[in-house]
Symmetry: C2
């Protein structure tokens, strides 16, 4: 039998309410009683049942994270950022992975909602706002990250995606590339934003845009690198071949790199290559990979701060949008002398 407050109260000949107050550091208790309770608690290694507490306070001290993948370093880093930021406040993180599938995401969110989590952080794979309307109606606090939902005035923390596309593309142009291809991401915030940045950069520099230089793959997690390979093979069939490629993310770029090298071409001399995400061992690749850093750690931290502010304020505050600025990280794959 697990031990309860009542037991401790009985042992000490006091009321259960008194024990409860001691444990919550309520001032209303005399020093002597306080010590006695604390001692007995330590003796018995007692811990109050959080479930029962949550039921009455209405707060579970649990924060949910729904991401397309926990394996992707970007989301892993975010998970870590959130987890460490909320830990000291006594919150724990519940994770759920949608595997990039809107249906799965829906189920996961439903499951989490039933658990009355204090807040949700979601990198959504959804195309419909339905879910979010529902949460608004329930006045369930949530924060969107990475992927904006348009038509939704929600709390959001993300990166300036257009700027990501611009930075990468402009860098390629400065390195002398004139036939710049793009292996793009999905049809969502980041995918479209980076693509738009790519187009804007081309336009501003007077470089003609061509659909032939843009390819898209469905990004199923672990296979991303393989998809980068395939996409690049397609691009190598173009005539003329591109002389610079901007990839939606680093795994795609890594795949592309392998196709380029296998075709006997040189990086960056024949084709310059840049990705996005700035993964930890980008500089240990066959050719060190230039990338756009999207500040994933900071993103997690800001998301956590936003969540905590949501939880602390009593009435629902107006939705905030936080956009981080990406930075260019130049390595060998684009550095032409």
């Amino acid at each position: 039998m697990t031990i309860r407050m009542k037991d401790i109260a009985k042992d000490l000949g006091i009321s259960q309410a008194t024990v409860s107050k001691v444990l919550r550091k309520h001032p209303d208790i005399g020093e002597k009683t306080r010590q006695r309770v604390l001692e007995r608690v330590k003796e018995l290694d007692y811990q109050p049942n959080t479930l029962a507490r949550s039921l009455v306070t209405g707060r579970s001290c649990l924060i949910g994270l729904v991401a397309p993948s926990l394996l992707h370093p970007f989301f892993a880093e975010i998970a870590r950022g959130i987890s460490s930021a909320v830990r000291d406040k006594g919150y724990f993180l519940v994770v759920a992975s949608s595997e990039e599938d809107p249906e799965v995401e829906k189920e996961e969110i439903s499951g989490l909602l039933a658990r009355r989590l204090d807040a949700l952080v979601i990198a959504s794979a959804a195309t419909e706002v339905e879910q979010f309307d529902r949460m608004d109606k329930m006045s369930q606090p949530y924060v969107l990250i990475d992927r904006d939902m348009n038509g939704l005035a929600a709390n959001f923390v993300g990166v300036n995606e257009v700027r990501v596309g611009r930075l990468a593309t402009e860098h390629l142009i400065e390195m002398g590339c004139r036939r710049i291809a793009h292996i793009r991401g999905q049809d969502n915030g980041p995918g479209n934003g980076r693509f738009e940045g790519y187009r804007l950069a081309l336009r501003d520099r007077g470089i003609p845009y061509s659909d032939d230089y843009v390819v898209r793959r469905s990004l199923v997690d672990t296979e991303t690198t393989q998809q980068g390979r395939e996409a690049m093979r397609l691009l190598l069939e173009r005539d003329p071949k591109p002389d610079g490629v901007f990839c939606f993310n680093d795994p795609l770029a890594i795949g592309a790199m392998s196709s380029i090298l296998d075709a006997g071409l040189r990086i960056p001399e024949d084709i310059a290559l840049i990705g996005c995400g700035n993964l930890p061992n980008n500089d240990c690749l066959r050719v060190p990979l230039s990338s756009i850093d999207q500040q994933s750690h900071m993103l997690g931290q800001r998301a956590a701060e936003l969540v905590l502010s949501l939880l602390e304020s009593k009435q629902r505050p107006r939705a905030r949008t936080i956009i981080l600025e990406p930075t260019l990280v130049v390595r060998g794959s684009t550095q032409r002398k």
Copy 2:
């Protein structure tokens, strides 16, 4: 105001117990009433409060994972494996990261225990069994992964670490290496096991062992690659230099690779290199990295299965130990013609 069973019952002029039974598919309810309840539930988008349910059933349908790092692909993969395996059964995963610090781990475990999780999965950074004794006393189900605690008859899922060390070292020997160095891991199950495998392989092949060829770094997560670099620089100062290096894990090996190449040496001609973990883009590195695959996905899955079996059996079953066999994955970093 959030909606409760009582509200639905009142709307329909029936008792709350009836609603409860419908929702749990209890047979004791007539078809007509059942339909009416279900309809109203859908109308109101009602979901039973899991907290309240848990309080009375004593099961939270939450499983905890405590790992040294969520960023490390090995643990990320395990998290994914567990999460996906328990999802269909209605369980969610709560994650906590110990950052390789026994004190933090202790706090995290305490926090999770207070939440009455149904089970814990732990890759422990601890050196004391205290925590685990405590859980045994509380009859809290848990499964250890990756790192065994000796002196503890607990459920454990791990890899045959001695075999990891043997496989790697024997492979280097077969590739013609005679002065084989080891950049070892921490003083725990995997670290010691792989080291022992390394020694045994040397002994069996009659190759003398030397402390000079073994270096150790404290493995603080994100900096692992940097530590591999430093460790390798140390090894390059030995005279004679090693002609083969077995690294505790792939990030270390990647760092080592960079030091070797920067020193103007060739891989594998001058120094052959092998790691462990078989990370996804090992074959896109400057030299494709040979590695030992430790079956992280399988490990997560088996851990999840073990957890579920623990939860299903009524009385506590005898502790089980599951040891997976590692496999050798040969790539360019060791392939001498």
